[in-house]
Symmetry: C2
Subunit: 193 residues, 2 copies
């Protein structure tokens, strides 16, 4: 059964990027270990602690499609045409590019994004990789899980993951916890009430 899971690296004080969209202080755990985790693209190979690598490999094996916002698509330049996770990416945008890469779909709202991505995922999970889209999916009751890669740093300013929740409070279950190096993986289920 396909689940819709929001996943981000987040500082302890809730930021998923610095004010300039920088993520250097949040993504160090993907390259600070001895275990290689290959991705679908040559330009990205992770080297993680053993526990993070095991966690990441399971996550990679379980994901069937991604949902991203247009901003993320733009600042990554469409990941050069293929996402490291090697799965189709559904981009939420009101202005689709004329010729997007074939792995990418462009849709105009979060509901359609979840519908299309779930179809593409073929029973595997859908991962929501942008903060605003995750907020919208949560407000729309479409999120099953929130997986936080919590990084031991206080950024003090930047882009918050959960800045504009329309429906709060949102109760979550007890997380499953995996302790990495430079990261604590906290996987929460969204409690439907």
């Amino acid at each position: 059964m396909s689940k819709v899971i929001a996943n981000m690296s987040m500082s302890l004080d809730g930021f998923i990027a610095d004010p300039g969209d920088g993520i250097d202080l949040l993504f160090g755990w993907m390259g600070n270990g001895e275990v290689e985790v290959p991705t679908a693209v040559e330009w990205a190979t992770f080297r993680m602690s053993p526990s993070s690598a095991e966690y990441m490999k399971a996550a990679l094996a379980g994901v069937g499609a991604l949902i991203a916002g247009r901003h993320l698509y733009d600042i990554t330049q469409g990941w050069g045409g293929r996402h490291p996770m090697g799965v189709p990416v559904v981009v939420v945008t009101h202005e689709p590019p004329a010729d997007g890469p074939s792995d990418f779909r462009f849709v105009s709202g979060v509901e359609e994004a979840v519908r299309v991505a779930t179809e593409l995922a073929g029973g595997k999970n859908v991962v929501v990789a942008s903060a605003k889209i995750a907020q919208q999916a949560l407000d729309a009751g479409l999120l099953d899980g929130i997986h936080v890669d919590q990084v031991p740093v206080l950024l003090g300013e930047g882009v918050r993951w959960f800045e504009n929740l329309g429906k709060a409070p949102v109760r979550l279950g007890n997380p499953t916890v995996v302790e990495g190096n430079g990261v604590t993986h906290l996987a929460y289920e969204v409690t439907r009430s």
Copy 2:
């Protein structure tokens, strides 16, 4: 050796109270379990999960003094004259009350608070229990640890623990993790650089 540790219950999105200073959704873990943890006062007895109880008992045994802000002192009405932790409380305020309870000291700044509390703690730890004071202590380089009782809820709005950090980013060590019920205890060391 006395350590200065900030400790709060915090939502996943970084809030330590709702907009009206309410903490109901953040303190449930202190009363949702089967293990009784007595405090120094009759009006407060905790009932926690076994793991949280063990964690809390160790914390209580290690603390020698508290530092609180005036706002917290006021909204708790000075904890009725005695703090549940049963240790002296140093309150940071520019307007000390005429006749504060004997367990309480009133000082005018965070540096003095840490100095006085450390003396009172007699080698045990000093716990900083107010968000603003913790921020000031962090900025002043006076914090050794940040112990987060992270609650699986998104509040969406309220009082943030780390709202106005003067010196960021602040790097922390990998946390020690204790999994409770309705809470994940994450104990971080502040990395001095």
